[in-house]
Symmetry: D3
Subunit: 270 residues, 6 copies
């Protein structure tokens, strides 16, 4: 018996795991997302078990590289939270490796033009929709043996809108075939627009930009995601139509909680 | 030129880094300690930078092994927080390796008798006080080239009192030469005593045990450490004479903060 | 708000995950187990997804240490295969750390006397049944928030019978309170008995030893586990009463398959 | 004495290690290759010791990143199997780092044009043949101190032909100066061509494509590599002129063997 | 309380850590730099503690990838040596991730044109000077909470001049806005120029190239860095105006010292 | 086909690799050993390639744990230097795991009595000579498939003599069946004896102790190893009869070389 290098391994499961986010959105719901920057499978597992709809590993500004991200995907996959990742840049190598590792959606930073959007989506989709290369090694295990047949319809692609240039090219970007939507990077957007605050949602110019984005999103029936800094803003953003809202960043959660605890304790026993 | 395997390397610094905890205690102050269970240098660095007096890596119930602990010690050493560790068990191999790696104090679990206390302290002290083997590879770098001469006076040794048996042998334990004090494990102690709550400080029997412990601590001029679960209890424990108080555990901080954030957000945009 | 270091974190799940092996055994079934020696979360995940009832990480003769084992537990926990581990030796440090990490059963090598059996079981059980220390950091996540209350009834403890001395002390060992059963190490047993083959089940002396063991197992209503080297022997061992049978070792599977494939190919294109 | 940062370190060995694959090909032989997707030095060492002529670490669809690949190269270098790697994409950073780490050949995915072939080869060759940067840190150790002088003649470069576009540009690609040959990606090629099966060698259109490729290979005296899924196909492919044949993929070997063993055992003791 | 994902965490320190190299250069001094190729936090810590002004982690020809580099940055940050890195290639992903991790300067290989210099600098600078994305996760901890406001003035950018083409475009390169200077790669430069020696500073053509470079550096008030192979050459290069001089490479230091020690010992006891 | 969990895998090589140290000693030669404390496969590979007869990974005072040691063994096994390790303490778990990983000799610290020597040797030898458990997973690959049959005669066991107590029990220790010899820990010995210098070989009391040791070594035809700090002392120690001499420690080599280079450079360009 010659074990095969080429064929897919023996079929075990037959029906691909659905992308729960797509189902939530179909029902008109808003998904709540956690943002992981700590390079640790344990913190990923801890947060995944608290009940978020989606968990995004941030490989751009977070501290995990590919091998650590893989171990975090194992940890997240012990729950049914949908595993997403933000790639560090619009590069096919990382995009394809993460998809092969079983992430069910990608956020791509700094997509400023139709050409860049097409490059991003192309790397995420098998032909004829794109140029993704075949080899879903862990995706086959996480999703099921029929991954290849369903991947193009399952994997979510979100382009970050976070520069003035992206705003200008917005309609070209959101109408890119195969793109599911956008994720707004409010801090980079405000820096790019030369605004004073860093992603201050009370800034009228930034709010105006969000309105422009949501108009395009609604017009073209896309999804928009965004960070929220307070429950009130989460509510407001949800009402504005954002369907993927991220209220937490693990490093900030931990740091703020530690500072609070220390300050409280120092008051009593300093 | 033959580079030497045997001799200590060239002297660079000349005066050993003090143990800040000892200085605080000399001034009658209470030190505030953070408890690390996440196996990650990044979370260790994040918490060390918030200003705790000491940081304890928990190798017993935390998830870091030796190699990860070493990387966490690097991260903690970017601040002047005093690096401590809890060993998984009373074993010379781990005790000596952590000291060689530069921790400035050790907490040893389940010290239930004078014999066990002597085994713990013996592994922490160079002869003639103990049987620690020479080779302070990273301690020499962290502390200074005169580490060997000062280590016995610098390294803190705390024996955990966490069983009914330890309570019985308390005076024998706290009077062990070279032992700096105790750390009370209230949960294990309450389990060992057959109490209902897990470390419930309102339980009179547990409170009584703490009083017995503090009587011995005061009588023999030792240090006592303990976890605190609220600011009020931190205050009360400090007033009882505990000089090392741990109000935070990183995993719990992160998990609770994530749950809170999720619950708050779900209220608004469920 | 002071986040607590001491209390258990907020309750999320309420009902502890059952130990599927105990359920299988209650139904009179034989569980099929895979043996992991490759230090890799990916191979662990791959094998866990093929459908074995249990997966044992071998930290004695396998190549994974604690940190790697933890990552393998994440990977195994993406399935409902029961995670077990063989500890490298009868030591409380490793035993307790693995249980805290969420393994649902432990195999302890070289248990040769009642005293050693009691030491092993003691480290696995919370008081009053043993002296396990409280801190089920990942077990709480894997099993549920009521882990502590149910752990003593859930965690499986298997003592390896693999020396002539253990055979002599067999009844003392298997009647140790809190011990669930034995795992027979046929190779070491045959070496210890001075037999020619390495664990050759056709050797009458070894077969005789197995019969002695199974007599005690049946008499005291325990569980016995063993490696099987062929399907026929698996069947025979199952009929003899073994309820945990291990037909595969990952390194051997891979090595043999690679050799077979290479030999077959060389025949054709050498 | 000032130890030099710039110069090459002291010479130890003087004659560069040959590339065994080139020797085999010179003798008209076909090399048998193993494909590694498990991110583990141990599985790499296990397979390298079984006798394959070459071992390819797949950094595109396999799960190892650079640091893990480096540890796998150590393991492979305990044998005389020729270490190859498939890079995740046609990028100079990864290409040069792998060569510096001592791989003796690279497979580059998705080479669809002469321009892409030149970019790939350029990154693999020192000037004036290419633009590879000097710094063969581990290659000097693996190969010998005269690595730089011989690298351009030793390192093998294989461009993957796996799209319809590549077929069109085939002659332009295979005639790229410094390119040693191609590796056919039959699955991606069949997807790109819109064929039903995934790399089904019985598909006449795919077989036709292989014929076209081999015609060019023979015409320009290049090397062609390919995966084989059965011994019969290995033989046939070898007869067609493929000189690097890969009959095994480690993950598939392991998964199939585990499934087989489980199924066989369940038949008997289910 | 909703912990914020978006805002910067609570401010702790207020004044950003200065870049000591910039201060040294302002005082007209020459900085001495160590070059790290060993992928190890321990060797990084060891060397950082010996007193070099700067420590450069070489991710091009060294063996550390991103995750290991992060651990090395922790180790270096236990001292006040300025942490620099050489990126493997001129790619925004790696550049931005290293800056977010807190390096205070980057060396970019193979910058051969104004366009490439602008791409490099653009990735290093926040708008409006460049297109760096916001998210200085560890930089905020290493440098201080006002990192964003001061980063563009603090982070050093050095383009490697190491090809004949770069020499031709030299003035265009060094006048790129936001570029602090160059680092001369003498070996690659000599290879590119077709010279016999590898970076032989006695070669007149190479020396001539250095003179051309220094003329431009002086004319445009930039910084130039370079490797030195002997104390004499260090002195000469310093006198030529180089302000960042690298006399050591960790792997070479270790290898040469080991060879020397072995040879010396063999003489006596061979 | 059921792949076997139990049997040894298919035989490939047939003749076990010799222990080169034993051969050298048989020829009356002195072996030169390198001492590794840096937890890095790369530095291990670098040093192993310089030509030492043996390489000892120090898991007591060095910084590598088991998983890192395994990767270092891969690196060392790319050469024919004999891989040794010093265990952190006299514990069967670590001893057996290292032997299974393929080390060809162990140094055990702090062996102070016959009982301790027997415990050490027992863990290193298969029955009937000891109680080592069967499972030479990597040793089979490194040494050959007949490892089990030859291990007891191949693996070297050296007990450290480094306390006054050990000196008293010296003859009892060196005559332990199965012990190959001793390794003298001069620093710990001098501390234990209350001498002023740390392992100062010019101290008459220490020299006297060495003489006592060598008398026993010669009387019982054992091997003695030791660190040497200069070529002269290496020669003298060799003449005294030491047959395993360690002139280098990697961390010290690197640190001293870095300091030298920095000091030399500062002289010129301070």
């Amino acid at each position: 018996m010659l074990v095969r290098a080429l064929d897919k391994p023996k079929k075990i499961s037959l029906k691909m795991r659905k992308n729960k986010l797509k189902q939530l959105w179909k029902e008109g719901k808003t998904a709540i997302n956690a943002w992981l920057t700590i390079p640790s499978a344990w913190t990923a597992e801890t947060i995944a078990h608290t009940g978020f709809d989606a968990i995004t590993i941030d490989m751009q500004h977070g501290l995990a590289d590919y091998q650590t991200t893989l171990s975090m995907l194992h940890a997240i996959s012990t729950t049914d939270a949908v595993p997403l990742a933000r790639v560090p840049w619009n590069e096919p190598a990382t995009i394809m490796r993460l998809l092969d590792a079983g992430v069910y959606g990608l956020v791509c930073p700094m997509v400023n033009s139709r050409e860049e959007a097409e490059a991003f989506v192309g790397a995420c989709r098998y032909p004829p929709l794109g140029f993704r290369s075949y080899g879903p090694i862990r995706a086959n295990v996480y999703a099921g043996d029929d991954y290849f047949e369903n991947a193009n319809q399952t994997v979510i692609t979100l382009a970050m809108i976070e520069t003035a240039q992206a705003l200008e090219n917005l309609e070209d970007i959101v109408t890119t075939p195969g793109l599911d939507g956008v994720y707004v990077g409010t801090i980079d957007l405000s820096i790019s627009m030369g605004l004073a605050g860093l992603g201050d949602l009370n800034d009228k110019k930034l709010q105006n930009a969000l309105n422009i984005i949501m108009t395009q999103i609604n017009k073209h029936d896309c999804i928009a995601g965004i960070h929220a800094s307070t429950p009130e803003s989460a509510k407001k953003l949800s009402e504005q139509g954002f369907r993927l809202i991220t209220p937490v960043n693990d490093t900030n959660l931990l740091r703020d909680a530690a500072i609070n605890a220390l300050e409280e304790t120092r008051k009593w026993i300093g």
